[in-house]
């Protein structure tokens, strides 16, 4: 089969099966790309996961570009990326039509009303996982060390966000820049 078609279909399959985000997509990518069609070696896959964690964007899209480029150049990356988003575009668009038509119903309203606090709780839980890595390092609380500078940056950014309406992207970039500055003067 044509390599572009293989890339498109493989990543469409990964897109269709990965319900619930990145941590579901990682094992799917491994199974498909390393075990099934052999477009990646296991060590390339490990590199991919490392890079994906260090760069912005959904891991499945990072993987699509990474694998597509290696297998068939820039066009391969385009086909893999488009394949990956195709199931989303179709299914989520259908869901949007359903939502627009029926979200005004009182029964739908009460279901949605109780979904919203659950979403807030899920964001809080994601926040605490990241915060734990910031404060205690990747080892978690058990490692017994506290990263004072990163914790300070977190608190300062939070105060500026809440009181000065600092732009969120500015907060993220400034924290990265401050960390580099501290490393340059030898505090870290």
């Amino acid at each position: 089969m044509n390599m572009l078609l293989v890339l498109f279909l493989s990543f469409a399959e990964i897109g269709l099966l990965s319900v619930g985000g990145g941590y579901v997509a990682i094992p799917l990518i491994q199974r498909k790309m390393v075990d099934d069609i052999g477009l990646l070696t296991l060590s390339e896959f490990t590199d991919l996961v490392t890079i994906a964690e260090m760069t912005p964007g959904p891991i499945a899209l990072n993987a699509a570009t990474f694998v597509g480029l290696r297998a068939a150049g820039p066009l391969g990356a385009v086909f893999a990326t488009l394949g990956n988003i195709l199931p989303s575009v179709v299914l989520v668009s259908l869901l949007f039509m359903v939502y627009q038509r029926w979200h005004g119903l009182s029964l739908m309203q009460s279901v949605l009303a109780s979904l919203r606090p659950a979403v807030v709780a899920l964001i809080a839980s994601a926040m605490l996982s990241i915060l734990s890595a910031v404060v205690f390092g990747e080892g978690g609380m058990g490692a017994g060390e506290i990263h004072v500078i990163e914790t300070g940056l977190f608190l300062l950014a939070l105060i500026l966000l809440r009181t000065k309406k600092l732009h969120p992207i500015a907060a993220i970039v400034l924290c990265g820049a401050a960390e580099l500055l501290f490393a340059a003067i030898g505090w870290i």
Partner: protein, 191 residues
């Protein structure tokens, strides 16, 4: 909310998602938090309730959460062209960044500068999430709705301490809402 189409909205969808997608580390919830800041608080293209609904819907659908949320936002703000603009904005940054990095990926993944900057940016990401949790969580508590507060606490415990899958949590919350409204109706019926 008035539906605004036209080049300006399409540009806001494309450029906003481009910026958010280029600076978002750490998964789907980070990106929807930044989307809320941009499209609800700053541009008022959609309402806060819609953004929360879209977040739950994006989580339960297959595919990257960022892409799913962009599809919903795009349709709502400007129909089919809006959906295409928002999705394009979301997929361009990972495409460009990974293409550049794969030219020299060993050097990149071992770079101390990248690792240090990442470490600091993670503190910023946690602060952005904490800010939104304070605002939204405060509203849930102020609503004084027992169902909402119980759902929020139960969902938090399930996600944080019991490792329950996100989709089960969303389904559970939906069932709780359904049950609460059926009970309320039954009570009205007997009166």
């Amino acid at each position: 909310m008035k539906r605004r189409t036209g080049a300006k909205t399409l540009w806001q969808l494309f450029s906003g998602m481009l910026t958010i997608s280029a600076f978002t580390f750490g998964g789907g919830f980070v990106i929807v938090t930044l989307m809320k800041k941009r499209y609800v608080d700053e541009l008022a293209l959609i309402s806060e309730e819609e953004m929360l609904d879209y977040t739950a819907m994006a989580q339960t659908m297959p595919g990257p959460i960022a892409v799913n949320a962009a599809i919903l936002l795009g349709w709502r703000a400007a129909g089919l062209p809006g959906m295409l603009a928002a999705v394009l904005g979301t997929i361009v940054p990972p495409f460009v960044i990974i293409s550049l990095i794969s030219l020299a990926y060993a050097a990149f993944s071992q770079s101390a500068v990248v690792r240090i900057a990442m470490c600091g940016m993670q503190a910023g990401v946690a602060a952005v999430l904490a800010d939104v949790v304070c605002s939204l969580g405060g509203k849930v508590i102020k609503s004084r709705s027992a169902v909402n507060i119980v759902v929020m606490i139960a969902a938090f415990i399930a996600a944080m301490f019991m490792d329950v899958h996100v989709i089960l949590i969303i389904l559970g919350a939906a069932l709780a809402g359904l049950a609460a409204s059926l009970i309320a109706r039954a009570k009205e019926g007997t009166r």
